[in-house]
């Protein structure tokens, strides 16, 4: 089999993969989306190794949107950025379209089209689809809210505290961790390991390339900081903590279970032998000191402070909406 194509690897590339005519048939069926696979095509490999693979070489949140650099795109083709909360095939919303002009394309789309509560509190995902090509590529980032701790100092379930939007879906019970909103919640695979147990559970069950972990009791984490954290993670895919003090804190960016190459076991990374509890140590140098306020609600007094801060913010925003010029916007 010889393949000639602008999309082929070219340059005399060859392999030693065993092909039959069924491989060609399966390839054609893939290209045209014809199912079911006919005859032996059901059991055959395809010719995809002979083609260039669409790849995302970098992906990051920016202040204004979501930026991807993609290689092996076809100039002139329209690319679609789509957003989904559950990865269901019928549930992807287009947030931007881009026409590639060169094979190495950086595309940026506004994240304002994404409902903010979903962006900040729900398990979410982004993918980029090249229509017209027979290939699809996804970049998926999960967002996971850790809730349901024992809340001993607080005296009430912190997963049910609410400032504005609810932090998680449903009503998490104490003793459970890692309940991504929008995808239900799950009991920890390893109980009583604190937030690390929740992170571990989410990673083991993740369908995403990366996971961003938020704590349900940190209501003032800024979207900009989350963007910076994800950007740093994509530059170097290792677990990253937020460092407010000397000890690591949430939010955390870590590998998801979606891609095997990044499927490092976060719990193994974090837990030193013998600790066996939520006492975590930073596996890598923590991220730079973040901007904004990383307030952690631990006790009733903290909750009062948080509510006062929230109310004051709401008033400032309302005033800005009423009189944008006076407030300097």
């Amino acid at each position: 089999m010889i393949v000639l194509s602008p999309r082929a690897k070219g340059g005399g590339y060859s392999n030693s993969i065993y092909y039959t005519h069924s491989a060609a048939l399966r390839t054609f069926q893939n290209i045209f989306g014809v199912r079911p696979y006919l005859g032996d095509a059901l059991f055959s490999n395809d010719l995809s190794d002979l083609f260039k693979t669409l790849q995302i070489s970098s992906a990051q949140w920016t202040k204004d949107g979501f930026s991807l650099t993609v290689t092996n795109v076809t100039p002139g083709k329209t690319n679609f950025d789509q957003f989904s909360t559950d990865l269901a095939a019928a549930n992807w919303t287009t947030i931007g379209t881009n026409v590639a002009t060169v094979p190495w394309q950086t595309i940026t789309d506004s994240i304002r089209a994404i409902p903010r509560p979903i962006l900040s509190h729900h398990r979410a995902a982004l993918k980029v689809v090249w229509r017209g090509a027979a290939m699809k590529v996804k970049f998926n980032c999960g967002i996971c809210v850790l809730a349901g701790g024992l809340s001993a100092r607080m005296g009430r379930n912190k997963g049910r505290l609410r400032l504005g939007h609810a932090p998680c879906s449903g009503n998490p019970r104490r003793g459970e961790y890692a309940r991504p909103a929008g995808a239900g919640h799950s009991r920890d695979l390893v109980p009583r390991c604190g937030p690390i147990g929740g992170v571990h559970t989410a990673q083991k069950t993740s369908r995403f390339e990366a996971e961003l972990f938020l704590a349900c009791d940190m209501p003032f984490v800024s979207a900009e900081w989350l963007a910076a954290l994800l950007a740093a993670f994509h530059r170097q895919p290792r677990a990253l903590f937020t460092a407010v003090t000397a000890s690591p804190a949430f939010p955390v960016a870590a590998a998801g279970g979606f891609a095997g190459r990044r499927g490092a076991d976060f719990a193994k990374e974090v837990l030193a032998p013998g600790t066996g509890s939520g006492a975590a140590r930073a596996p890598h140098p923590p991220a730079a000191r973040p901007p904004g306020r990383f307030f952690n609600v631990n006790c009733p007094a903290d909750w009062q402070t948080a509510r006062r801060t929230w109310d004051a913010r709401q008033k400032r925003r309302a005033a800005r909406r009423r009189n944008p010029r006076k407030s300097g916007l």
Binding site: M1, I2, L4, S5, R7, A8, A24, F32, T74, K77
Partner: protein, 129 residues
């Protein structure tokens, strides 16, 4: 086949002589949808000579199956009624025809050409059909 309706399969790499054409080179005429529907068959199974105009006008079907005739199928000259030394004609034929496809916008706009052989265990003895 039903899902591939609207795509054309083309045969007769060189259609000068009718006896050069063999149904065994064209798998599509064995499908019931083609075999029992004359209009569908004649609309989709076309002489190779029509491909050049389609390439020029950018009206090429999404799927095109090109198959050689007896002269150009790279089998030996001793059987099949073709003219001698056809293995050379096979390779020469592709060398002559391929640039037309490679120069078309259908190809440059994300197209792909798959060249397959059969009856071979190694490339050096392969046949085009």
């Amino acid at each position: 086949m039903a899902d591939l309706s609207g795509k054309h399969q083309r045969d007769q790499y060189s259609g000068r002589e009718r006896r050069q054409y063999l149904a065994r080179h064209n798998p599509f005429v064995f499908f019931d949808e083609v075999r029992t529907n004359l209009a569908y068959c004649t609309n989709h199974v076309r002489p190779y000579t029509e491909l050049a105009a389609d390439l020029t006008n950018n009206t090429v079907a999404r799927f095109n199956f090109l198959t050689p005739n007896l002269t150009n199928d790279m089998h030996s000259a001793a059987t099949g009624g073709g003219v001698p030394q056809k293995s050379f004609r096979g390779t020469d034929g592709w060398a002559r025809e391929m640039p037309k496809i490679l120069a078309s916008s259908a190809y440059s706009n994300g197209g792909a050409i798959f060249i397959g052989w059969d009856e071979s265990t190694e490339v050096t003895t392969a046949h085009l059909a």
